[in-house]
């Protein structure tokens, strides 16, 4: 069986590849995750632990599996092998008769409550106003009262600096504004883990800053666990507690940003950083 027994999962792990800074119980634990598309192996027996409230930046060359890791955590992609735990509870499996069986839709919905995601292409709902983009899921998924959801949505939109745009439609906003709405929309579901997949890559250069500053505030003010795929090394350095370098579906090297950026040990990390920092 692909999923490790509970005993195995609980064993303290000395493997360097999943080091967390603190010795705390992990918020997220990837164990032996494998994912292939046809013959292309995208995640290769990957282990990673993330502590509660930890901010982790994922960097690495294109196609190295960074997005796929976020996507299996968001349940947009099913891993071929391995297990993921969120706060100790298995994501893709559920306990049954003393063992673990593949998760059904209900279990996945229960687990997905913990996770929110912001996409490179924003993916706002174009037929809904900004306000409804943010209230839609709280009202219809969480069953929150509409007025309460409205009030909370306004607070969140205020936080991302879009108080005056509540009645606009996505098409009337700039890319940076749309992405800030997308962040508010994800936060409205009160996730404990937020995933950011290259959220500034589709933006015009002049609007990148406004989105990054929202994320920066979020990192400071909230005890959210955050995983962020990014090509912006400068932001990764100031934002992250830990940086993981992906290469061909594995984490080749990881550590605090200062160490990783100033003194990379692995040859490939060095080559990658040289290439990005030059450009």
């Amino acid at each position: 069986m692909s999923n490790p027994s509970p005993a195995q999962v609980a064993t303290p792990d000395l493997d360097m590849s999943r080091t967390m800074p603190s010795g705390a119980k992990p918020m997220i634990r990837f164990s032996g995750i494998c994912k292939a598309f046809g013959s292309l192996v995208v995640l290769d027996d990957l282990d990673l632990d993330i502590a509660p409230a930890e901010k982790v930046a994922l960097i690495g060359p294109s196609g190295s599996g960074k997005s796929t890791l976020l996507r299996v955590l968001m349940t947009l992609e099913r891993p071929d092998k391995g297990s993921i735990e969120i706060d100790g509870a298995p994501l893709w499996h559920m306990p049954k008769n003393g063992g673990l069986v593949p998760a059904d839709g209900r279990h996945l919905r229960e687990m997905r409550k913990n996770v929110g995601m912001v996409f490179q292409q924003f993916n706002l709902f174009p037929h809904m106003s900004v306000l409804r983009n943010v209230t839609e899921a709280p009202v219809h998924v969480l069953g929150i009262d509409k007025d309460e959801a409205d009030a909370r949505a306004r607070d969140l939109l205020d936080m991302v600096g879009l108080r005056d745009k509540v009645n606009h439609y996505p098409a009337q906003l700039s890319g940076g504004q749309q992405q800030r709405v997308a962040i508010a929309r994800a936060l409205a579901m009160r996730p404990r883990v937020m995933l950011f997949d290259e959220v500034t890559s589709a933006l015009d250069p002049e609007t990148v800053g406004e989105v990054l500053s929202v994320i920066r505030d979020l990192a400071h003010e909230h005890n959210l666990t955050m995983l962020m795929v990014t090509h912006q090394m400068g932001f990764a350095r100031e934002f992250a507690d830990r940086v993981c370098f992906f290469y061909q579906g594995r984490i080749l090297e990881q550590g605090p940003p200062d160490r990783l950026f100033n003194d990379p040990q692995n040859e490939r990390t060095q080559a990658f950083l040289r290439a990005v920092l030059e450009s």
């Binding site: 947009l76 929110g116 996409f119 993916n123 219809h140 009337q172 994800a186």
Partner: protein, 220 residues
């Protein structure tokens, strides 16, 4: 060359029946299209196959054959429907089969990111379909549905062959009675054309209503 004024009353009566059949069969067609179009994308195989069978069957045989079959052959199974029911049922199912493809392709045209965003917000597939995917797809469905409604309007002329006194039937009655063939049929065609224009203007209005607010930047 022009039709004497006293004949227009008959044509108008027929036109009302034609409009009535078009409207009722149109509603039925829309429902069939939605159900069959979504069923074709179901992950449950029997549902999918039922929908495919319906679509292929009604698109593969001719509308007139379907009407005649319902009209002449169905009573042999002990099920006698009124001509009006046959008309609405037959034409609704027929156009609905074409509409199913419209629904399907409009839903498939919604970008994957919309499905993913809905899932990331923990929406169930049904909720995502109802509140995120379909409302966007409907806008894309309107122009092809407009065409289908015109096809439906034209197909209603066939009901004159199963004894319904629609516009075409009234034209024929007048023709037999007066032998003013050219002006009568010309007037009938003009009536149909006017109804078609009416249908198109309804759809234009719907399109304008439904795309409020989201139009501006979408073409960017």
């Amino acid at each position: 060359m022009f039709l004497p004024i006293e004949f227009y009353g008959n044509l108008l009566q027929g036109a009302l029946i034609t409009i009535q059949i078009t409207a009722m069969a149109g509603v039925l067609a829309f429902v069939c299209a939605l159900v069959a179009g979504l069923a074709r994308m179901s992950s449950w195989r029997p549902v999918r196959w039922t929908a495919v069978t319906y679509v292929e069957f009604f698109r593969g045989t001719s509308a007139l054959v379907q009407l005649f079959w319902l009209f002449y052959a169905l009573p042999l199974f002990g099920l006698s429907l009124s001509p009006m029911t046959v008309a609405v049922l037959g034409l609704g199912l027929h156009i609905g089969a074409y509409g199913a493809e419209v629904v399907r392709s409009a839903v498939l045209a919604i970008p994957r990111g919309q499905h993913e965003a809905a899932l990331a917000l923990n929406m169930s597939p049904a909720l995502a379909m109802r509140r995120v995917i379909l409302p966007q797809a409907v806008v894309a469905m309107l122009p092809p549905f407009n065409n289908l409604m015109i096809e439906l309007l034209k197909a209603t002329a066939l009901v004159s062959l199963i004894t319904i006194t629609d516009l075409t039937f009234q034209g024929q009655l007048l023709n037999t009675a007066t032998l003013k063939t050219a002006p009568i049929f010309m007037a009938v065609l003009v009536f149909y054309f006017l109804i078609a224009l009416g249908i198109t203007s309804v759809f234009r209005t719907l399109e304008r209503r439904l795309s409020v607010g989201r139009l501006k930047g979408m073409a960017r």
